[in-house]
């Protein structure tokens, strides 16, 4: 069993891996360097609170979690009841962000295991997106590589990664290079930017880094999904005019248009630490879930989209129970949405279900409860069924929604 040890500072510190307001701290205060060092040392010494889980084509489950600067690969052959360690992904320990919005990612097919993560660098809020790959079922990994071609000591992190059974792999992350370039020219730049790279051979070879969008929010996870045509689509919290932090979406294709994915109008000078999620069904319909704190209509929302046509947002979740961190799964006409609530004593996972591609929905119901600190729930990457991985104080739990 992979045991989790929750350390909450990570939640706040994870936001750090950003380009945002950091120059203000890094340059104006000489004491920022010890702070950054402290940050990095603590990360390397800690256990991550995030466990990421992927299914291979046989339905076996693979997980990665961070312990003392190493990512450990584990496998379950009993549907997630027990996990056994296979070994380390990175031989040399390094400062790895593994909590909340900024967590390692894993994808498995056959003997190929691909893991990506955010490495924290000594300078405050700076990092690299790293990746390591195994071709022998995780027994050995090639040395990790840095994915971001820009090697400045600035923010590169919040990586999201998805893979399909044909070997299409997509990796998207938040990247500070545009902000850094603007700063060199003395130009103001709002937020961060979204970059990506893709592979069509299970991660053996990759495209160059491509910019997807300017002006993203700085510390919300990216929603990422691969469609039936093998093309990936991303969803992220964007920084619209007037400091409005609503969602945007775009396919990972050079020159693709960026579409607005929510019209919440959440104007906020802060980082909400609350990304959304995205799934694409076999017919190519995109299913979006997200959180907004907009004064007019806060809460969790679902909508679907085909091309540039979006359905009306549908609210869900109990606003008075800290409803948050939604995740979505689509298979055929079935769509499942899971999110987390807190009732004052314990966390509960709530679900709602559609069997007509998101037109009508079941009433919400509770699928699991947990005492103590918990991670946010996520559908298992690559699973053919709606399996939810949920890190709790007692270990990672796999919940089969069928």
């Amino acid at each position: 069993m992979v045991r989790l040890h929750f350390r909450l500072p990570g939640l706040a510190l994870a936001c750090g891996l950003l380009l945002g307001a950091l120059p203000a701290i890094a340059h104006e205060h000489p004491a920022a360097t010890p702070m950054a060092r402290n940050w990095q040392e603590r990360l390397a010494a800690a256990k991550g609170s995030a466990v990421s889980v992927a299914a291979d084509e046989q339905g076996r489950l693979w997980s990665v979690d961070m312990r003392q600067g190493n990512l450990w690969l584990s496998r379950s052959t009993d549907g997630g009841k027990t996990f056994a360690d296979i070994g380390k992904v990175n031989a040399q320990p390094e400062a790895i962000l593994a909590d909340g919005q900024n967590r390692p990612q894993i994808a498995v097919h056959g003997q190929v295991v691909v893991v990506s993560w955010s490495q924290a660098l000594p300078k405050l809020y700076s990092g690299h997106v790293r990746m390591a790959r195994s071709e022998d079922g995780g027994i050995s990994f090639a040395p990790p590589v840095i994915v971001n071609e820009n090697r400045e000591e600035i923010g590169h992190g919040f990586n999201a990664m998805k893979m399909d059974r044909q070997g299409n792999l997509a990796l998207a992350w938040l990247d500070g290079r545009e902000r850094s370039a603007a700063a060199r020219k003395g130009v103001k730049y709002s937020g961060s930017s979204v970059y990506y790279a893709t592979s069509s051979d299970f991660g053996k070879t990759w495209t160059a880094n491509v910019k997807l969008a300017d002006n993203s929010c700085e510390c919300c996870r990216i929603g990422l999904a691969i469609g039936p045509d093998g093309g990936a689509v991303a969803q992220w919290r964007h920084l619209f005019a007037g400091g409005v932090r609503d969602f945007a979406t775009a396919p990972l294709k050079p020159g693709a248009p960026v579409l607005r994915a929510s019209e919440d109008g959440w104007e906020i000078s802060a980082c909400p630490h609350h990304g959304g999620d995205l799934a694409i069904d076999a017919g190519g319909r995109r299913h979006y879930v997200w959180f907004t704190g907009s004064a007019g209509k806060p809460g969790l929302f679902y909508r679907y989209a085909e091309g540039a046509q979006f359905s009306a947002p549908r609210a869900f979740g109990d606003l008075d129970a800290q409803a948050g961190h939604p995740t979505v799964f689509a298979d055929g006409k079935q769509v499942a949405v899971v999110w987390r609530e807190f009732d004052g004593q314990r966390y509960r996972l709530r679900r709602m279900q559609s069997s007509d591609r998101g037109e009508t929905w079941s009433a919400p119901s509770t699928v699991a409860e947990a005492e103590g600190a918990t991670d946010l729930p996520l559908f298992v990457q690559g699973a053919a069924q709606p399996l939810v991985a949920w890190g709790t104080a007692a270990g990672v739990r796999i919940i089969d929604l069928r």
Binding site: L13, I25, H29, A270, P298, A373
Partner: protein, 161 residues
């Protein structure tokens, strides 16, 4: 002579109290702590700012608050860091940088932040900074994100006499 001795004693005691505070670090913030803070400032206007060490938007607001505090020593500001007790030294060091050494400081001391947020405000979902403005009657106005400097000044002008 007696007066000078008294002053020296005050200075010494004050210094000791300051030193003790500096060494002790922020107080642990648990369920009920906000009520305790409010009771302490009953009948007085108060700003409670929730922030964290890793929050990149927080320094802007904390610096403005620090400057306001210098100009209005009577302004009641309480800082609550949504970190963990082990971040105490760091939160105190940063607060000093922002000119808020004298503001009482607290740090989250619960492994479940949702439990604290529900006690503070059920509809706060963790965005930082988060500012609670209490007027003299302790009517609450809660704001997520950096509060513009003009708005902070306005509040001070309206509530501090």
């Amino acid at each position: 002579m007696g007066r000078i001795a008294h002053r020296l004693a005050c200075l010494l005691l004050g210094g000791l109290a300051w030193a003790a505070q500096a060494v002790e670090g922020p107080r642990p913030f648990v369920v009920g702590s906000l009520k305790e803070i409010q009771a302490q400032y009953a009948g007085k206007p108060l700003i409670v700012t929730f922030w964290s060490v890793g929050c990149t938007h927080c320094p802007a607001e904390l610096k403005t608050l620090g400057a306001l505090k210098r100009r209005h020593p009577d302004l009641n500001i309480v800082l609550v860091a949504a970190d963990t007790p082990e971040d105490g030294p760091e939160t105190r060091r940063l607060a000093t940088q922002y000119g808020l050494t004298k503001a009482p400081q607290w740090v989250f001391a619960d492994p479940i932040p949702e439990r604290l947020r529900m006690d503070i405000d059920r509809r706060w979902y963790g965005e930082l900074p988060r500012t609670h403005f209490y007027d003299a009657g302790h009517r609450l106005e809660a704001v997520s994100g950096v509060v513009p400097e003009a708005r902070l000044r306005q509040w001070v002008a309206a509530n501090l006499r």
